[in-house]
């Protein structure tokens, strides 16, 4: 993108000129500068929380997309329960909070000079940097699964065109077809996501193409909300949904995109529609900035979310190694607000106070069948650990009315959290 096409949204009191200085030099008493890279649940929430916590902080949010497309509830888009537009949000209200929204990509970070290099703009100096890059796909980590293959075997693990591609493939499939979902080993974005997807695909098949079947080939033997999902599957989709764990030969070792063949150590499965959820890592800028370790994810201090590898750089959301906290939108939003408070305290020369964080995550086994997991976390031995005795999943024994109530709460959660981050 050329400089002339670069769009900076500015508003109000932002010290935009200060933020665009080529060198990280600032006068005594000038506004502290925080750059946030990535405009998802983590980045957008953090940028807003920074401004609201201390309006003196000059915040720049670096995000190349004009529209954010949310992953939570995108399994409903795949299965025709909602439209992609219900997942999409702009950054207008974020900019209206006095945040400079830089519509470009961060390409490099100079941690010692404390500056971010943009794809098509000036270097952005910062006093504190927050990286919220989400995930990248590890192309090639699963043999045969590269970016070209994802046009045949969509991952649909970053919402948008991939979501619509998988939906179109399901819609085009003849009744009687086999849908295969390939689930990765831990860790990955949205631990219950593959199983919610399998559930809603089964719901779609049951109502539209009842001679079809969905098969989950899993690189794991256990998964999030497992008992609840399996109970729902036997109740709602008997004979229609089959889960093959690692120990029963579920691990896919290679794929052939042209024939939609998924190869395990035990045999081959040919799909009418194949959804490959591949291995993942922290978004690219994390590696470039030197905050990702050999696992591909980012170790952080559990109080401040500051990188354990690079001082002055904080990492939040899916990219971070957050101990017991899952890679969920709720966790990203909670981490964002906790990190913002810590950053403001650090900029004021104070010692950040230790907090507790919450995660709540709903999944749908059917449009009117919700289940949840919740957890409370605190810093412990350098990690975020579950508070003993707290958290857990929905009761296994519960009337359908309770499942219906959780489905309603799931939608309410989506409205509330997207309003806080983008509305």
């Amino acid at each position: 993108m050329s400089v002339s096409r670069r769009v900076f949204l500015r508003s109000g009191v932002v010290a935009a000129s200060a933020a665009l200085l080529p060198r990280p030099v600032r006068a005594q008493g000038a506004a502290p500068r925080v750059v946030v890279v990535g405009g998802g649940f983590a980045g957008a929430s953090c940028a807003r929380a920074l401004r609201h916590t201390d309006p003196r902080v000059a915040v720049t949010l670096v995000e190349p997309n004009v529209t954010f497309t949310a992953c939570p509830f995108s399994n409903g888009v795949i299965t025709g329960l909602r439209e992609l537009s219900a997942q999409q949000f702009t950054y207008e209200r974020v900019a209206a909070d006095g945040i400079t929204v830089a519509r470009t990509t961060a390409t490099a970070v100079d941690a010692s000079a404390r500056a971010v290099t943009l794809a098509d703009g000036p270097r952005l100096p910062y006093d504190r940097l927050v990286l919220a890059p989400g995930i990248d796909i590890r192309w090639g980590a699963l043999a045969g699964y590269d970016e070209a293959a994802s046009a045949q075997l969509p991952h649909a693990w970053k919402a948008g065109e991939q979501t619509l591609l998988l939906r179109r493939q399901l819609e085009a499939m003849a009744d009687g077809g086999l849908v295969i979902i390939v689930a990765p080993a831990n860790p990955f974005r949205c631990p219950p996501g593959p199983y919610e997807r399998a559930s809603l695909v089964a719901h779609y098949l049951k109502t539209r193409k009842p001679k079809s079947k969905v098969l989950v080939l899993d690189a794991k033997d256990t998964f999030s909300k497992q008992r609840l999902f399996q109970q729902a599957w036997s109740e709602l989709y008997p004979g229609l949904l089959e889960w093959v764990p690692l120990s029963k030969g579920g691990q896919v070792v290679s794929v052939d995109a042209t024939t939609r063949t998924l190869v395990t150590d035990f045999g081959q499965h040919r799909a009418a529609v194949a959804n490959v959820i591949p291995p993942q890592k922290a978004g690219r800028i994390a590696e470039v900035a030197g905050v990702a370790d050999r696992t591909g994810w980012c170790p952080i201090d559990p109080v401040t979310f500051e990188s354990k590898l690079q001082p002055g750089i904080h990492v939040i959301g899916d990219a971070a190694i957050a101990g017991g906290m899952p890679k969920s939108a709720f966790a990203a939003n909670a981490q964002a607000k906790t990190c913002a408070a810590a950053v403001v305290q650090l900029l004021s020369g104070k010692t950040p106070s230790t907090s507790k964080l919450i995660n709540t995550c709903y999944s749908l086994a059917a449009p009117d069948y919700g289940i949840s997991v919740a957890g409370v976390y605190q810093p412990s031995a350098g990690q975020l650990a579950d508070v003993p005795g707290s958290g857990g999943v929905s009761p296994v024994e519960a009337p359908r009315a309770a499942r219906a109530a959780e489905a309603v709460l799931a939608e309410a959660w989506f409205r509330t959290i997207t309003t806080e981050a983008f509305g």
């Binding site: 929430s45 807003r48 929380a49 401004r51 609201h52 916590t53 201390d54 309006p55 219900a86 949000f89 209200r93 709720f330 939003n333 909670a334 607000k337 906790t338 913002a340 408070a341 106070s353 230790t354 907090s355 507790k356 964080l357 919450i358 995660n359 709540t360 949840s372 919740a374 957890g375 409370v376 976390y377 605190q378 508070v387 005795g389 707290s390 958290g391 857990g392 929905s394 309770a402 109530a405 959780e406 309603v408 709460l409 309410a412 959660w413 409205r415 509330t416 959290i417 997207t418 309003t419 806080e420 983008f422 509305g423």
Partner: protein, 96 residues
């Protein structure tokens, strides 16, 4: 959805409340993931800002003990001590 977002626009957020001079107590920042901060919000989950302090304490204690029926709040309340519940209640009661 759009209408809900539009309705909430301009009405502030929990983060706005964070601007108060007192720092929010442990755990407070997470609550607005489910509890709306907008004065008008389409959610069955109650807004916490400005609620009665004693009512928040009672609710949290009853969620924790299992006396009050809950969906997720029983599991969440178990992660907080009496002192933390008191601090959360005082803080939310003081917010608008």
């Amino acid at each position: 959805m759009r209408r809900v977002v539009a309705a909430a626009i301009g009405l502030g957020s929990i983060a706005a409340a964070l601007g108060a001079s007192a720092e929010p107590p442990a755990g407070a920042a997470s609550c607005s993931g489910c509890h709306p901060t907008a004065a008008v919000a389409a959610s069955p989950v109650p807004r916490l800002l400005g609620l009665d302090r004693a009512a928040i304490v009672r609710a949290m204690q009853e969620f924790r003990s299992g006396k009050r029926t809950a969906t997720v709040m029983d599991r969440i309340a178990k992660g907080f001590t009496d002192d933390e519940i008191q601090a959360l209640a005082a803080w939310f009661a003081s917010q608008r």
